[in-house]
Each structure stands twice: as C-alpha cells, then as structure tokens.
Amino acid sequence: MTTADYERNMVLATDTDYKVIGTRPVRHDGADKVTGRAIYGADFDAAGLLHGKILRSPHAHAKIISIDTSKAEKLDGVKAVVTSKDFPQSESRKDQWLKDNILASDKALYAGQAIAGVAASNPHVAESALGLIEVEYEVLPPVLTTQEAMASNASILHDSLTTEELGEDTGVVSNVASHSQHVKGDISKGFEDADVIIEREYNTKTVHQGYIEPHNATALWSPDGRLHVWCSTQGSFVVRDSLAELLDLPVSMVRVTPTEIGGGFGGKIPIYVEPVAALLSRKTGAPVKIVMSRRETFEASGPTPGSQIKIKIGAKHDGTLTAAYAWMAMEAGAYPGSPVGAAVQCVFSTYDVENSTIDGFDVVVNKPKTAAYRAPGAPNAAFGAEQAINELAEKLGMDPIELRLKNVAKEGTRRPDGPVFGKIGAKEVLEAMRDHPHYQSDKAEGTGRGVSIGFWFNIGFDSACNIAVNKDGSVNLTEGSTDIGGSRTSIAMHAAEVLGIPVEDVRPSVVDTDTIGFTAVTGGSRTTFATGWAAYEAAQDVKKQCIERAAKIWDVDANGLQMEDGVISSKSDSELRMTFKELAEQLSDTGGGISGSASVNPSGVGGSFAGNIADVSVDPETGKTTVERFTCVQDVGKAIHPSYVEGQMQGGSVQGIGWALNEEYFMNDEGTMTNSSLLDYRMPTSLDLPMIDTVIVEVANPGHPFGVRGVGEANIVPPTPTIANAIYDATGKRMTQLPMSPGAILSVSPE
C-alpha cells in the first residue's frame, strides 16, 4: 500500500447533520498568533515593572539552617527580597507543603526548589543579587527512585509523613504516602483458571511535558488590598484559589487574568512563580514579573513520574482473559500526590476481565513535585500492560488486535476500579485499527510492527459562558477556559450551531476571574466537552429569549414560534419570519438587549480510547529506532473541529514517541538533573518523524448535546507500548525500560 492509496486523515463520522459542528473554520485568535501580536505571559508589560528572579537549592535533599539576604538587599537596583517567612502562618501540614514547594522553609527536597525571590529594576540585577544571598544547608542523602524510597533503610523526606494503608493512617513514618488497592473477583482463582500467564516488571523515568513557553507571572498587589496576576496558566481560577489559600486572602481579593499560553499539557495547572511575584509586589508596591528559564522549567516545575510497574495477566487457550494483576509504584516527587490514582483507573480498563487486583503506591522522592502530564499515569501503566497483552497474543498464536477485541470492554462492563462503563468506543477503535490500510498492508523489509490501545476517563467539572447579542447579528461569547489549542473556536462552534449563525459571527474571548463564573482547568480533556456545553446552554438561553422577543414583536404566543438556521418563524403562519440578524437590529427598540448565560457541571463524561499502529526500523549497529509509519485512531465522540482534533491526536502521539525513544531526566548521584536543556533533553524534531496519520472514530457520547468525549489525553497512552511492541517485532527484544534509547536497545538481548 502506498501513501496515495488511502486518506491520511479520516473521519468515521456518525452524525453529519450539522451546519457548523464538524467543519474546519480558521480559529478566531489565528491572525494574532501568526503575526506575533498575541500577548503571552512573558510579553505582558506594565508601567514601573520590576523583574523577579528566584534562588534555588543546589541540593536535592538538605536541611536549611539559615538564609541571609542582607547583602542582596543592599545591591543597587534591588527592590525587595522574599523568603518563606513572608508567607502567612500555615494551618496544616498540607498547607505548609504547598508553600514549601513555592519557597522552601525548613528543608529543600529537590535540586531546583525555590529558596528566595528577588525583585530588581532589571532581570540582570536580580540575577546578580541571587549570588549574594547566603544559605547554609545541612546536606542529606537523596532518594531518587521508588525502589530507593521504599527500602527499609531509606533516608526519610518528611518526618511528619505517615503511610496511609487502604485509607487508614498507619502512623508509620515512611516515604510511602499511600497504598491503595482495587479488587474485582478472585485473582487467585483467575490465575488458576489460566492456561497461559505473562509476568514482567517495567520501569520508566521522569519525563517533562516540554511546553515551549516557560512558566511566567506578573503580579500587582494594589494598595487597596487586591492582588492582580497575569500569567500563562491552564486554569485562572485555580491560580486565584491557590493564591488566596497560600496568602490567606478571600478569593474575591484576587483577580487572575490569563494571558495567551504557550503549551501546558497538565504542567501549567499548579502555581510556582505566581506567589513569589505577589509577595515581591506587596513589598515593593510595584508590578513584578517573573519568567522561568528553561533550566528552571525542567528542574522546578512538575514533570511526570518515573515508575516501577509489575504486570501479571492470565488467559485461556481461546484468548479469554481470566486474571489481571498490577503493582504500580509512582514517584510523587517531593510532596505526596503522584498520578498513581489515575493509573489505577486506566491500566486494565480496556478489558473485561473477571478477576483483577491493582495495587498503587504513592511514593515521595527527592525530585520536583510531579504535576499532570496528558493522561497522567496512564502511559506508564500502559507501557507494561499493553506489552503484556501482545506477549500473550504471541504465546496464544493470536492476532494482537483480535485478542484485544475478544476481551474488549463495552457498555455495562465494570472497570477493575469500580465504575461501570456507559457507551464507549473501545471496540470501534480496535475495529478501525484492524481494518486500516496500514494494518492491512505488508510491513516493509526490515521493519517491525506494533499495536496497542489506551484509555483515559476524561473529566467534567465546572464551566461558565456568557453570550451577548450585538446589533449587527453577531454575538460576543465570554468564557473562562484558557485556550491552548484552539478551544475558543470549538466552544464558539457550539454557540454558532445552536443559534444557526456562522462561527465567524461569534466573537469568543477568554476572560479573567472577575468577569466570568467559576471555570475549572483546561485539562482532563474537558474544555470542549464542558465549556462547549456551557456555550451550548448559554446559546439556548439566547435562543429562547429571541423567540420570546419575536413573539412580543408579532404579538403571538411564543410556543407557536421556532428558531432554526438563524431564522425565527411561526410554525403556522409563513408570513411571520425574521432572521436573527433582523431581530438583533431591533433589540434596543423592543425591550432591550439579549444576553444568555450558563454555568454547568456536566456529569455525562465519556471516556476516550486511542489506539496506534506503528512500523519501526532499528539500526542493528547503533540501536537507533526510526518510526517509519504511525497511525493514531481515537474515539472522540464527536469532532467539533476535526483539524484541531487531529492536531491533538498527532501532538499526543509525538509526545508519546519522544517518551518512548528518548526523553528522560538524567539524575546524577547527588540528585541533580544533568540534562536540563532542550539540547540534552531530547524531544522529537520534525526530522525525527513521519507524517502522523489519524482516524477519528465517532461513537457519540450520550452525555453531551453533540456527543463530545474530549480528545486531548487518551492519545498519549498507547505510543510507548506500541513502539515497544514494534521494536520487539523488529528485533526480538522485549524492552521493559523507558526510554528505549539506542543504548538501552543495544544492552538488551533478543528473547
């Protein structure tokens, strides 16, 4: 099969009866972004702006004995210095941990942890001042992996951290923050019933989201007591609420204006520099801007964890899975909260297995506190589980996609962690993979082929939207989801569809926390789903008012009117007809303007499945893997804007390919990252990749008016096992460690 024989980007659409949904308009913020006019966080300027820099711990684990800032304060041009002492008193241990991750108090728990902040008239002066701050440390041995951290003689990070065992505090001080367990059926019986059992351990390294724009924030603490922050964030309300909590302010005293954001992938949910800029602004009375360097972004934001995963699965000769067991320990970083809880929800969720047990361990280590990264935890889990499924297929002599189809989860299947699936598209994704020209084609000479599938549950949460009608028949739409990949357009498309107007007539704006109702983060694949839904509801509100207004103008009963394709008309009298635009012109003369609003917290979240087919070649001399061909298939429910849906699938796939082949934090024995630059932390370039072919599968989510599931995350789950399975097919080597770098591949022998 040559590339010309099939469409490289297919949409297997279920419902095409829409005017706007499913089309591919140019995004509303596009012109600003291709001309350099869009204002991202670091571009923000304010009169009298000061520049902040942050002193960071060179040690991965150390007691802080003293911090002397007096010399720095005296440097010409320095306006203020802050340390953890400038925070209000903490009420709880958890509260103190949050603060310590912003500015450490008694202990530094990772190399790069913030110790003090300086504001100066220019960034170079602030930088020089950092060198004048004297910190005395008592260096302690670092703990860098889950294996080290869980060892009985491990150096302890937190004297106050006791292990929670299955929900109960054990009172035992250790680096294990918690152990959770999910049991379904009887695992021993399941393995007794199995004819074939596969069992292995897998290990993965810390990796970073790698957004191109470093973290940034500008804060102005006004003399009236209100704090205003402008920053690149995935959630302006999260920033507002976290700042209020850390600084002991009511939320109404904090206003956050989200700027344009240069990527996040989960990493721009937590706050880092925002509170430091705020404290510096309070001390100086001036606006203070802090922009992280790339090195700081690697060493002091929140990567996704290294992990240790043991998988054991059993099946009958006919391929029926009888038992699945997972033991997963994930690095939380310096403070509790790894994504192991999410990994547990995903590891075996593609399959209907009668007997399963999943143990999850949240383990603190001397690395930056982990943050979300696109389906957090799920890719680590899938790297193990989906290789095991392929191994099983090989042992059983079955096609790996057919084995998956035989056991696939459907509507009504109970997940190993409890919830029962509603309507899902796992089967449809596997079928689309099986039938794809890529899978049907012969492999090229010397290449190996791999497949796998991954699951992410997606989230709903709060979203708000306001829509005001302009007299020219356009509408202004305001919403609170920061737009990282074209979401303001997909949200506007919801409103345009309802109102029957072109999407160009909807003017969407992402506004600040004073201007819109509470809206949760851009994350969890929720933005188009939930904020789109809010736009749908707000547009319905406008539509209803339009019909009522027309009824008033015509002096008829509103129940006899309808609004379709942007035209309000009577169901019985064909004379009574008026376009939305004609009505808009008259609003002011017929009772005043119309605006609609909605706040939603939708419960009908539909999980998403994504699968890959990949062909790779492995250079036998160097061990270098080249991805020759790559196909991503995903059930997105309904693609609102298919181009941006494909973009999510392609972007997630490529992040997964980078994770599979190259990306890792190299830590030296002292616990310092030795590759904190974009040269040495090797993310994929255009030259490393083929085109990424996509198949959009649409199994409509009954929990959304247009069937949306959310697309942002599931696509990063299958690439690591897919590539591992392809490498095995090409070389006979089972890769149980990420990344599968050239050296790693050369060090493994074929099975």
Partner: protein
C-alpha cells in the same frame, strides 16, 4: 550598571536605533527595549528556535546574538512578515492547515519557513523536515506544520 551602547539597525524595513547593555541578547533587545514581543523565548540557549529572526538573509536564533552585534544589520521579525493587513501566504497556510495549537512556536516556524521557501521554492517533505529541525514544536507533532509549508509553497508558486 554597565554603560549602554547605541545600536542602529533596520527592522522590518524601518530604521530602528536602540540602547543596549553589552550583556543583552538581541532577543532581549527586541522584546524588552524595542517592544517587538512576537519573537519568543523558549530556552535562551539556541535549542528551540522560538526566537528565530532573519538577519541579512540568514536565519538565526536571536537569543545567541548580542544586541551590540546587530549594528548595521537588516533584521526581519514576525511582525514584518505580513504586508500591512494582508497576511503572507505562509501565515494563511498556517491558519488554514491548523498548523498551530498554542502558537508559541509559530513566529519562529514562519520566519524559518519563509527563508526556506525563498531559497527553495519547491522543497520536498524531507527538505522541509530537515530545514525545520531547528524549531521545536511540542503541540502539533509537526504533521500540519509540514503540510502548511507545502501548501504555502504551492500558493507562492501559483501567485
């Protein structure tokens, strides 16, 4: 504070002079002294390409050029790519092919691609990928960027 140097340049066809400290990069001068924030900083050490500008016909990462080195230079930044209110075919192609998600890498990609198409009006996929390997994009997986450049090449040839 170090003494400032007076630097005269041409930026996007206009004569621009500015004062800068010897330690300031051209990137910093463009953004903080001249107010052209379309050129982005992703790494400040030459490895992401977000700060790419064209100096005297060559694309360079402006974070690795000192402001004082720009004396006499003819510089093109993203702000100079459109012809007034008419977008350049590359800009149109990026929009219509959805070749940006967050958009932070886009100015660098457009400056780089423009230089490519000026030298090689009909590049192959491999030539595009090779040329753009200096520019990192973490959002798109490059597929739609490569297509946008192919599309722009077609538009420019038809024009």
């Amino acid at each position: 504070m170090p003494a400032k140097t007076y630097v005269q340049t041409t930026i996007n066809g206009e004569h621009v002079d500015f004062l800068c400290e010897p330690r300031q990069s051209l990137l910093e001068c463009l953004r903080d002294e001249i107010g052209l924030t379309g050129t982005k900083e992703g790494c400040n050490d030459g490895n992401c390409g977000a700060c790419t500008v064209n100096i005297d016909g060559r694309i360079v990462t402006s974070c690795l050029v000192l402001g004082v080195e720009a004396e006499g230079a003819d510089i093109e930044t993203i702000e100079g790519v459109a012809d007034g209110s008419n977008l350049h075919p590359l800009q149109l192609a990026f929009l219509e092919n959805a070749a940006l998600q967050c958009g932070i890498c886009t100015p660098g990609f457009i400056i780089s691609s423009k230089a490519l198409l000026e030298q090689n009006p009909n590049p192959s996929e491999h030539e595009i990928r090779f040329w753009l390997a200096n520019n990192l994009c973490r959002c798109t997986g490059y597929d739609k960027i490569v297509r946008a450049v192919q599309d722009a090449a077609k538009r420019l040839q038809e024009a």
